[in-house]
Amino acid sequence: MEFLQLFVSGLANGSVYGLIALGFVLIYKATESVNFAQGDFMMFGAFIALWLTNTEYMGLPFWIAAPMAMAAMGLLGYLLDVTIIRRMFGQSQTAVVILTIALGFVIRFFAGVFWGHEPQTLQSPLAVGDVTIGGVVLGMADVTIIVVTALLTFSLFQFFKHTKLGLAMQAASQNQMAAYYMGIPVKRVQGFIWALSGVVAAVAGILFASKGAIDPNAGMLGIKAFAAAVIGGFGSLPGALVGGLIIGVIEPFAARYLPAGYSQMAPYVLLLLVLVFRPHGLFSQVRTKKV
């Protein structure tokens, strides 16, 4: 009973990590660079939704505010690519990484100025009440998060597998040069990938803020999500999600059964173990090229 409750709340947390990790992997596959602002994207998306929804700000209905926040983050991602990232084309990957770290700070600062540094809760209809399934009492928020994440993952999978743009995105990330040869407008496709990762970050943010309070430093969660992406095998979308779930599930169990303080360490110990024993991650897609 207790086991199940821990497990479900772990899965819910893990879903949020997984969604942020998904954003990491999307960008990494498209541009071969890591967007360390992904966590801050998540936080910013949450704040936009909160600002639109909460009665002390705009007070719009949640079901209008949430899509608007997603669209806004998608636009932000696209514009970032067009105005800043694209100019870094040809620079070393490190330069892009440093740039995104700086970007994260800027976003955090913005959020702090606009919405203050106090934790705030999204007035979300997702978070109300509990459900009882087979005698186990589960938080509605946890269940919603898991369901929404599953739905989003499923539709992303369909998108990548069955739409022309989705295929082009995969192509551009697997072999950029060949994508050019096929007449795929690679730069525009990369812009769409940034937009998509912005949308995914917004969903993660809305879910996260439905469950607990959010403040401008919530983006630091990105570090944990980064660990999740590495555990899953950087470059694999399902891997990122599973990595997130693993970390999410480990945390509450470590908190429950290990001495105080160890639970914070658990995800990183796992990261270390994976890196030592399976350096390419659990779901690596490393394949040597034939000549």
Partner: protein
């Protein structure tokens, strides 16, 4: 008048290095033109400049009566020029089918795409057999077939082939060049074929050019080239009955 592809005094740089230095070349509709040359002669650079992956510093690329040099690659592809790159460059984690679909990325006519997919499968039956397999798991020869098939999916007016024989066994080379010949005869695909393997290339081609360190040094029909002494000794490796003084390293090329 009437050339399908004409290149005039093209110059391209790799950073500070001038990789091609004033090249002119013409290709007629339905022809196979081969560009021969050793490593680093600038053959691949020439193809990359035509397909827009690289921008030329000077000169013109005229396709179907229209200047296309310096345009974005996806714009050039839409005009009907497809580049089958050196070393295959398939999308390794996508299936054979998906790779072919991406070849038709710029097209919207579903029926036509389906027909061309069947045509590709007819020419390369092994691809039909493996249509749901990831391209990265194919053998080198199969990947080369996939790269050519993917290029065909565009219904190109002209196909730029960069060393299709690279890394393949003689038997496979024969097979692939046989298919290229059929594609040219039956489907009327015009081709520019860059090769180091001069023998097979001259066998297939109508006309040939020889490149050396960024310049065109010879230009003739494939027959004449294959018969020329320079080509025989430098590219086909035929040795004249061994007069000691006539050995390869003593000979001077006539264009030097």
């Amino acid at each position: 008048m009437g050339h399908l592809l004409e290149i005039r005094n093209l110059e391209s740089y790799y950073g500070p290095i001038m990789a091609i230095r004033g090249i002119s070349l013409t290709v007629e509709k339905g022809q196979i033109v081969t560009v021969l040359g050793a490593n680093g002669a600038g053959k691949s650079t020439l193809l990359k400049t035509i397909s827009g992956i690289m921008d030329p510093e000077k000169g013109q690329v005229i396709f179907d009566g229209e200047e296309i040099q310096g345009l974005e690659p996806h714009v050039i592809v839409k005009k009907g020029i497809v580049h089958v790159p050196e070393g295959r460059e398939v999308f390794p984690l996508l299936t054979v089918n998906e790779n072919l679909s991406l070849g038709a990325y710029t097209r919207n006519d579903k029926a036509g795409i389906a027909r061309d997919r069947e045509m590709v499968f007819e020419y390369f039956p092994i691809l039909a057999e493996r249509r749901n397999q990831e391209a990265g798991t194919l053998s080198g020869g199969q990947q080369q077939m996939l790269a050519i098939g993917r290029g065909l999916m565009l219904r190109p007016k002209i196909m730029l082939l960069d060393e299709p024989s690279l890394g393949l066994s003689p038997l496979l080379i024969q097979q692939i060049f046989g298919i290229l010949e059929r594609l040219n005869k039956d489907e009327g695909v015009t081709m520019v074929l860059v090769e180091q393997n001069a023998r097979v290339a001259l066998n297939l081609a109508d006309a040939g050019y020889v490149m050396e360190v960024g310049r065109m040094v010879m230009n003739d029909t494939a027959e004449n080239l294959a018969a020329s002494e320079d080509i025989q000794s430098f590219y086909l490796g035929i040795q004249e009955d061994s007069q000691r003084s006539e050995r390869r390293w003593k000979r001077r090329k006539t264009w030097r």
